[in-house]
Each structure stands twice: as C-alpha cells, then as structure tokens.
Amino acid sequence: MADTKEFVAVVDSNAKKSPRRIVFITRRTSAQVKTETEDQVQTFPEVLFRAAIAIQVLTIVLVWTSLIFNAPLEGLADPSHTPNPAKAPWYFLGLQEMLHYFPPVVAGVLAPGLVVMALIVIPYFKVNIEAEGFFTKDRERRLRIFYAVAAVLVVFLGTFHVIVAMVPTLIMAGLMLLASQSSAQSPSAFRRYLAAKPLSYWVMTWFLLELMVLTAIGTFFRGPGWSWVLPWKAY
C-alpha cells in the first residue's frame, strides 16, 4: 500500500524530495493582465452563423457570376504560335508591366523578392508599430528626408521612363506634403485624417496604389507588342 502523502506547502528546490511546485511569475512570462473587460458573444452560435451567412452571400454572388459569364477557353495550346500580346494571369500583370521597363532580374526577381521580404518583416520594425502622424514629431528633418526620397524616386522612375508608376508616386507625394502642412487642429476633417497617418501608412498606401495602377494598366491598356491601347478599342 502506498504511503499516505502529506500535502504541506513548503519552499524547497529539491523536486525529487518534495514534488511540490511553487509558481514563480517572472516579468517576461507573467500572465496577461486584463486592463478592461468587454462585451463578448459566444462563437457558437453567434459568430459561426454570421460566418455561414457571409459565405452563403458570397456563394450566391459567385454562382450568379458563373451562370452569366463563361470562363475563357481559347484554342489548343500551340507552342509555335505566340499570341500578341502574351499575358500572365492578372495578378502578375503588374510585374509584367514592370518587365516592360526594367531588366528581368530587377522587375522579375529583385522587386517581388523585396516586396515579399518587406511584407514579412513589417511587424518586426518599430516604424510600423508607431501610430503617430509622420510629421507630428521632428517635422523639419522628416520633411527633408521626404523631399530627398521623393526626388530620388521620381528621378529613378523618370530615367527608366516609367510614367505610369510616377503618377501614383506624385499623388502620394502631394498627399504627404498636404499632411505635413496639416495638424490635429486643421479645420478640414480630411487634413486631420492625413496629419494622423504614420509613415507605415504612407509606404503601404503608395505600394497599394502602384500595385493597382500597374495591374490595371497591364490588364486593360496593353496590346500587341505591349503597346499602349485603349480597352474599349479592339486591336
């Protein structure tokens, strides 16, 4: 028969001798302290039912689309007959548009590689954690840096004649200039909004605009020999 164990709370570091534990809460591993409580709902059924409805609405939209529009199907693949233009799937047309201006190693490898790397490291850089307006602190120095970066970008894009990528760059530069001239006390809501935006917002929005513009141009405005065409005109 096993000995009757006596449970007495003592402080002892010898685990074999007295298999009792005392929890040491160190700073690094302390349990998260709730600072405030919030209204919560049960995942089942509240959230799951909403998700189901969202997916049903999506399905209805996609089923209708599929009933109305047919997926494209061209002739049998023919390696000896290259269509002009030969286009990649739409989500790669931004890249293909860049290939028109830059050598393949830059547009096809360096640029997408850097974008993926940049996306991965976003949460690990303090600049992306900051939530303060970019120009609210150290305004003069940051304006100088902004001017320099904007000028380098515009010159770089101009050198390679990438006019289509220059347009979003200039729009963003204009908005950033407006932000630098605005503050939380600005009379217009739009300017207060701009003034509150951190650097990460500006970089990401510039990237989003470039992505949309390049993809749209590659998809709709490029014809034979990657020449500029208007989407409503047959080529």
Binding site: Q42, R50, A51, L76, A86, V109
Partner: protein, 261 residues
C-alpha cells in the same frame, strides 16, 4: 400539441447516436455552447467567445471568412472537375472542352471554379491590406501576419498552377511568360525554370507537375497553414481590437479608437 421543428431537433440531439458523435452534449447554456467549440476538432481552432464589436462589418469586412468561403467552393468544385480531367497533352484540352459542352453542368462547375479562384486571390490581397491598415500585425500577432504572407504566396501559386490546366493558348502562354521570369534569377535561374517545368519549356511534364501541385501539394500546404492561422488568432488573444490590448503591449497610449481602425 404537435412538435415544432426545433423540438424534433432537440429530440434528435438527445439520441444515443448523436451523443456518441458530438462530445459536447446538448443544451443552450453558455457552458454547452463553449463546449460545442472547444470539444470539436475543427472548431476548437477558434475562441469560444468573441468580442461583440468584432462582429460589426466594419471591423473586418469579413474578408478572412470570405476567403475561407472561396476556398471551400474551390475544393467543392475542384474535386468533381478532377473526375473529368486527365493531366496529359493534348487530352487535358479536350477534357476541358468536354466540360464545356458534354458534361452535365460541367460549364457551370468550371465557371464557378474559375471565378472563385479569381475572387480568392482578390480577397486574400484585400484581407492583407485590411489587416495592415487596422494595425492588426502588432505584438503578439507578428507571426500570424507572417503566416498570412505565406498563405498569400500559396494562394498565388495555387491560382498560377491552375491556370495551365485547361491547356489552351491562354494557359500555355500565360505560364510561359510567368515561368520565364524564374529564369531571370541570377546563377540558378535556369535550374529553377527547369525544375518548375520539368523541361526547358512548358510541355507535358509541366502540365503533370502543375496538376500535382495544384490538386495535392498546394491545397494540403494551404490547409496546414490555414489551421495554424486560425489557431494563432485564438492563441494571440482573439481578433485584434486595439483598446482591449493590455497596456504593456502598446508602444504608446493610443489617442482614440478611431485611430486604431
């Protein structure tokens, strides 16, 4: 008095068979509802409770849910499509033609698969930007953001590999253009190109490789990472809601709720 549908359902849930399948038992108490999530192998990836304000449309636009929805549709349409498809040249093209003109509802199946695939790529991008603008990648959610980026790449690869399968001119040349980019990688570009296509140009080997990637390897990889993605939402404290974050995790106090959106 006649029983209502709800009562019939309650009776069903009390049966021995039902109780043997679903571990959580019946009842509408908070405990039972929590158990319905926590005791289910699939649903236990989610939290048992969610902050009420995260249910509002503006918080997430339901983009993650909708992306999952497109994935469900793609699996549901992709499996029957596989039954009518041979990954060989030129049979692949004739199978696609048959889907279009011979197989009952084949055209609809293919349309739904194709448009859902485009929708998924779009929704994954939209989801990423929404998460970014909400600042939801912040501590302790860094790694879930990284998994999200991996899922974005997997989605692009899934769509890209599927693009070749109809083996028409559109498919052939789109993949030719895309795969040529791989050749531009310094030093090992041609080797990567060869590995991807199983040859120096898009051919029958490439079709088979893309088929295996599209129907087996990439979907399984996607499911693996999606499971981690969902589980991490729960482990990282639920959907991101700025003002409920412990103060110690913030880099500095946030001025207002609006700023966090």
């Amino acid at each position: 008095m006649a029983k209502t549908a709800d009562q019939y359902f309650d009776d069903l849930r009390e049966t021995r068979v039902w109780r043997s399948i679903f571990r959580s038992g019946t009842g509408a108490s908070t405990l039972k509802r929590a158990l319905a999530i926590q005791q289910n192998v699939f649903l236990h990836l989610f939290s048992t409770k969610v902050r009420t304000r995260m249910l509002s449309f503006s918080a997430t636009w339901y983009l993650g849910t909708l992306t999952l929805g497109t994935f469900f549709i793609l699996v549901a349409t992709g499996i029957p499509l596989m039954l009518y498809y041979h990954p060989s040249v030129p049979q692949a093209y004739y199978d696609t033609k048959d889907l279009q003109f011979v197989v009952s509802s084949g055209l609809f199946l293919r349309n739904l698969h194709r448009w859902s695939a485009h929708a998924m790529v779009f929704l994954v991008f939209a989801h990423m930007f929404k998460v970014f603008y909400r600042g939801a990648y912040r501590t302790p959610r860094e790694f879930n953001w990284v998994i999200g980026v991996i899922l974005l790449l997997i989605t692009l690869l899934l769509s890209y590999t599927g693009y070749l399968l109809p083996w028409d001119q559109l498919a052939y040349w789109a993949i030719t253009v895309g795969s040529n980019i791989a050749s531009a990688v310094p030093l090992i570009g041609n080797k990567i190109h060869f590995l991807l296509l199983g040859g120096n140009s898009v051919n029958a080997n490439a079709l088979l490789r893309f088929y295996v990637l599209h129907c087996m390897i990439l979907p399984l990889t996607a499911i693996f990472f999606v499971a981690i993605h969902f589980w991490r939402i729960r482990k990282d404290g639920g959907l991101y809601a700025q003002s409920s974050e412990p103060a110690v995790l913030r880099s500095r106090p946030v001025a207002s709720e609006k700023e966090a959106q």
